[in-house]
Symmetry: C2
């Protein structure tokens, strides 16, 4: 299927991948070159998994999961397959985030450093808990075939909003984390002399924000949305309206489609609802 | 004009105002009760204007500026008036942010503390510069009558996107700022004992994020968008499509309307472009 502004999309996707990879590589360079490297010894090398896994999973993989419906090469794939990939990427991100939390707690406990006092730790833990809640609700409501279309219709705008809000909150968590780590490892005014490590991690943190900004741009362009399934367009009570709404912004809206219907024997009854969901919900964000 | 889901809007607006006010009040309590109070002495009391002015201007006033088009009581006001209010609120926020920067630099210079080494200072300065650029471009392209409709059409999605991105970046700047200030004023592990000031400022920072999340929800509900001007609906080449697009999400899209046209003698020629702008741009976010 043809995509409007395909070249622009491709350029921004390549830019996003570049900044995402660069963020991960720079985080690795940081912990391997400036810090104690990687290990699982309850000390610095174990803690270092914390930024590496979070920038990899919570920033890069979550960012790709957010825009995966936008890739025009996937538009011929079933919506069910794409939802599975979206859920799979987010599950990987969640698992990496949990391992990252374990590495931080384990490190603190080994060295008798208190846990959960800083703003970063509060924001970070809240984001991980809400992210897992979002993932579980997403699986049960949108991927598994049990939820009625009416429930999906109610949750779709909330799911899309929460997804972007969590992605933004991850940025806050990462940058508060980088800030406190820099003050820990460059103490007594050393950070204020702008040593190479300070400049490097400040820059790395800006790369993470640029990656987030690119993902936010890609996901909010209406012309890069996955098109509606053809069978659904035919089901619209008003074909013209459906086309108009499809051109509006919708952030990877998990609209109900043929692949959902095939999971359910009540396909006919649900298809009537799909048309309603399309017009009512596909345009919500 | 009637608003769909008016009670829900009202409830969320009251909640947003509550969290916004509470954030400002708590910032004042922080600097007056836990810190040195407010003054302009080049010392702590001068620095304290920094968080107070930024939470007031860059968080609260900017948040209100973002949703000002959504207030249904203003839908009878001209679009030009609403744009002026939007620009006015953002100008106030920019002025407060500049004074806040001066207070921080002045404080650092008096006490010979280095400037611009931390991640917070980098992010904060970038956000202030880009915010002023966004404001100036917004004035020249959308408020003043000089810009051709084609230029407005190109810049509208960028303006809306940049506005939300800057608002999110302000959250990052505020929370990295709170983090580093807490490590400065509660040094040598004092923060890790969770003293009242630590708990208070962590909580205040979460209030700021909740305010931001409420603004983001309000501005991304398509049903709470300012309706198109009636004269424009009539100008649509396809009335049905206009209705469909109006129902889609658009974050306070500064669509061209009657009040713009009145500023320009080429009204007739431009009105044809408005219809194009409406269908092509109003739905972009």
């Amino acid at each position: 299927m043809a995509m409007e502004g395909y070249r622009g999309f491709l350029a921004l996707l390549v830019l996003a991948l570049f900044f995402g990879f660069l963020s991960v590589i720079c985080t690795l360079v940081w912990v391997l070159h400036y810090r104690e490297g990687l290990g699982w010894d309850g000390r610095g090398a174990e803690f270092n998994w914390h930024p590496v896994l979070l920038v990899t999973g919570f920033v890069f993989i979550q960012g790709i999961a957010i825009i995966v419906y936008r890739l025009p090469w996937t538009w011929k794939c079933s919506k069910f397959l794409m939802k599975s990939i979206h859920a799979g990427l987010n599950s990987v991100a969640a698992i990496l985030a949990i391992i990252a939390l374990v590495s931080a707690f384990d490190y603190h406990n080994t060295l008798s450093i208190p846990n959960m006092y800083s703003l970063h730790s509060w924001i970070g833990l809240i984001v991980v808990i809400l992210y897992i809640l979002q993932l579980v609700l997403g699986l049960f409501i949108f991927l598994f075939p049990w939820a009625p279309p009416s429930l999906r219709a109610i949750f779709l705008p909330i799911h899309v909003y929460s997804g972007l809000l969590l992605f933004g909150s991850v940025m806050i968590a990462v940058l508060t984390g980088m800030t406190e780590k820099l003050f820990f490892v460059l103490p007594n005014g050393l950070y204020s002399l702008l040593p190479p490590e300070g400049v490097f991690v400040n820059t790395l943190s800006l790369l993470v924000v640029v990656f987030g900004a690119l993902i936010f741009w890609i996901v909010t362009r209406p012309q890069w949305k996955r098109p509606q399934e053809p069978n659904l367009t035919l089901l619209q009570p008003n074909g013209g309206t459906a086309g108009g709404v499809a051109g509006s912004m919708a952030i990877h809206s998990d609209n109900m489609d043929k692949s959902d219907a095939e999971l359910n024997s009540e396909a006919a009854a649900r298809k009537r609802n799909f048309a309603l969901d399309e017009t009512g919900q596909r345009s919500t964000m």
